[in-house]
C-alpha cells in the first residue's frame, strides 16, 4: 500500500474554537488541520455509500438571509453526509420578513437546540453579532456583506494546495474588485497565514484604499502587496485568481469603462504565459465571460467544475466535523 500522505497537521482539534467567522484569526496549524481533514472527507465522498455517522444527533441550521444556492446546498450536503440533521431557513417566508431582529432569530434557533448555525447576511459583521450573544450554538459565516467568506477561501486554499503541493512561498495574484469581495478578503488572510505571497491587482478604485496608501492596516501587509499593472503582477505567479466584476459598479463611475477594464485587467492567454508554467487559473464565479477572463480561458471543463464542487462539500464537511466534535462541542 503506497498511498502518499501529506505531513500530518500539528494539531488535531480546532477547540476551543466554536465559530468560524473569518480567516483573519486562523493560525497556520488550524488551516493545515482543516485542509488535512478535507482530504479525508474527500475519501468519504468517493464511496458508493456517502454517509458516516459522526454528527448523528447534531442539529445544523442554515440561515441564509441573502440568496445563495451553491453555498447553502454545499453546507446542507456536507451536514447530511455526516449524519447531522440539517434544517434550512431563508429570509423570505420567515419571521425575518415580518421584521424580527437577527438577534431574536438567532436566540430562537438556539432555543430550538441548534448546535451550529451557518449563516449568510447582506451586512458585514452580522455573524459577529450572533456570535457574541449565542452561548451554546456555534456559528459559521457563509458570507457577510463585503467582509468575509471563510469556507469559500478554505476551499480555494485546498484547491491550490492540491495543485501546488504546498502554499509556502507561492505567489498568488488576485485580480479585480478586491475592495468589495469577501472571497478575496478571506483568501488574503488565509493565504498569508499559509505562507503564500499575495499580489492584489486591478483599478485603484477597486483595491483596498489603506493598502494602496501604505497606511497602517488590518491586512497582513508583510505578505500582501499591490500592483496595478497586471503584466507586472502576473509575472511568475503560481495562482491567478480573477474576481467577478459587478457591472452595476461600473455604471456608478467607480471604475473605468468596460473597454478599459478589459484591456488592462482581463486575464488573457498572452498574460497567462507570463505566469509560471501550469499556473492555476481560478474564478470564484459567477463569471462575466469575456470581461474578467478572455473567452478562450473562460470555459472550464466539466471535470474541473466537478472537482471544485466536490472540494467545496469536503471542505465544509471538515469544518462541520471539526467544530461539532470534541469535548467543547458538547459542553
Amino acid at each position: 500500500m503506497t498511498t502518499p500522505q501529506a505531513a500530518a497537521p500539528a494539531i488535531t482539534s480546532l477547540a476551543p474554537r466554536r465559530q468560524v467567522l473569518d480567516l483573519d484569526d486562523f493560525t497556520r496549524e488550524e488551516i493545515d488541520l482543516v485542509l488535512g481533514t478535507t482530504e479525508s472527507m474527500r475519501e468519504v465522498l468517493g464511496r458508493s455509500i456517502k454517509k458516516v455517522p459522526s454528527l448523528r444527533g447534531k442539529i445544523i441550521m442554515t440561515l441564509f438571509l441573502e440568496p445563495s444556492t451553491r453555498t447553502r446546498v454545499s453546507f446542507e450536503q456536507a451536514g447530511k453526509i455526516l449524519s447531522a440533521d440539517v434544517i434550512n431557513l431563508s429570509g423570505s417566508g420567515s419571521s425575518a420578513e415580518k421584521g424580527e431582529s437577527l438577534l431574536n432569530t438567532g436566540l430562537t434557533l438556539q432555543a430550538m437546540h441548534a448546535d451550529l448555525i451557518v449563516m449568510r447576511h447582506k451586512d458585514s459583521g452580522a455573524p459577529y453579532l450572533l456570535a457574541r450573544h449565542l452561548k451554546h450554538a456555534g456559528i459559521v459565516n457563509a458570507g457577510d456583506g463585503r467582509h468575509a467568506h471563510p469556507s469559500q477561501a478554505l476551499l480555494d486554499l485546498y484547491t491550490m494546495r492540491r495543485h501546488l503541493g504546498s502554499l509556502e512561498g507561492r505567489k498568488v495574484v488576485i485580480i479585480g474588485d478586491v475592495a468589495h469581495s469577501r472571497v478575496a478578503r478571506s483568501n488574503i488572510f488565509g493565504l498569508s497565514a499559509a505562507g503564500a505571497r499575495v499580489v492584489l491587482c486591478g483599478p485603484p478604485t477597486l483595491l483596498p484604499l489603506e493598502l494602496l496608501r501604505g497606511r497602517d492596516t488590518a491586512y497582513p501587509t508583510a505578505n500582501v502587496s499591490v500592483e496595478t499593472d497586471l503584466d507586472k503582477a502576473i509575472d511568475g505567479a503560481d495562482v491567478v485568481m480573477a474576481l467577478r466584476i459587478q457591472t452595476e459598479r461600473m455604471e456608478g463611475g467607480a471604475t473605468p469603462s468596460m473597454r478599459e477594464y478589459t484591456r488592462r485587467w482581463q486575464v488573457t492567454e498572452a498574460r497567462m504565459r507570463k505566469a509560471r508554467p501550469n499556473a492555476l487559473l481560478m474564478h470564484p464565479g459567477p463569471m462575466n465571460e469575456g470581461i474578467e477572463l478572455a473567452s478562450s480561458l473562460a470555459h472550464g471543463d466539466a471535470q474541473r467544475i466537478e472537482e471544485q464542487v466536490t472540494n467545496g462539500v469536503a471542505t465544509r464537511m471538515a469544518l462541520l466535523y471539526l467544530l461539532l466534535n470534541g469535548p467543547e462541542a458538547s459542553a
Binding site: M1, T3, Q5, A8, P9, T12, S13, A15, L33, G36, T37, E39, S40, M41, R42, E43, V44, R47, S48, I49, K51, V52, P53, S54, L82, Y321, L322, N325, G326, P327, A329, S330
Partner: protein, 183 residues
Amino acid sequence: MASEKLLMTADDVRRALVRIAHQIVERNRGTDGLVLMGLLRRGVPLAQRIADAIKTFEGVDVPVGGLDINLYRDDLTSRPQPLVRPTQLPVPIAGKTIVLVDDVLYTGRTVRAALDALVDLGRAHQVQLAVLVDRGHRELPIRADYVGKNVPTSLTEEIQVRVREIDQREEVVLVDHERRVLA
C-alpha cells in the same frame, strides 16, 4: 516518570505476527478472497507484516488496506479529537474475507466502530479480527480470532505498541500511570 515494562521485543512481535499469519491461512484454508485491513494508524504496518509473512510461505500477495474509524467513534465528546485520515481500500470488499488488524484490543469500542465503517464500504463475506495484544476489559461482546499475546492489565495501565514505521523502534511496553501519580 511512569514506569515502563517491556512486554515484547522486536523479535517477539515478529514471531507473533508470523504465527498469526499461519493461523489466518490455516483457518481460511488458503488466501482466496482474503484482504487484510489495518486499523489506522498502527494496525496498518502490522497488517503489512502479516501480508509479508504470508507472501514468504504461500507466495501470494494478500491485499492490505487501512481503515480510519474516527468518523464512527462513539466517544468523541469524551476525549481529545484524533485526526481523521483517509481510509485506503486496496480492492472492493464485497464478498471478501476481511481480517481487521489492530495493535491492542481493549474495550472493543474501536472494533465496533471498525465494523460499522466496514459495512459502509460494502458487504464482506466474513470479518475476522487479529490483534497483537489483548489486554482484557471488554465493554462490548467482541473477541479476537487471532491474538499475539494476552496481557492481563489493570485499568491504570496502558499498553503501548511501537512500530518502526511510526515510532522508529519496535516493541510492546506496559506503562503504569498509577505509579506515575504516586511518584
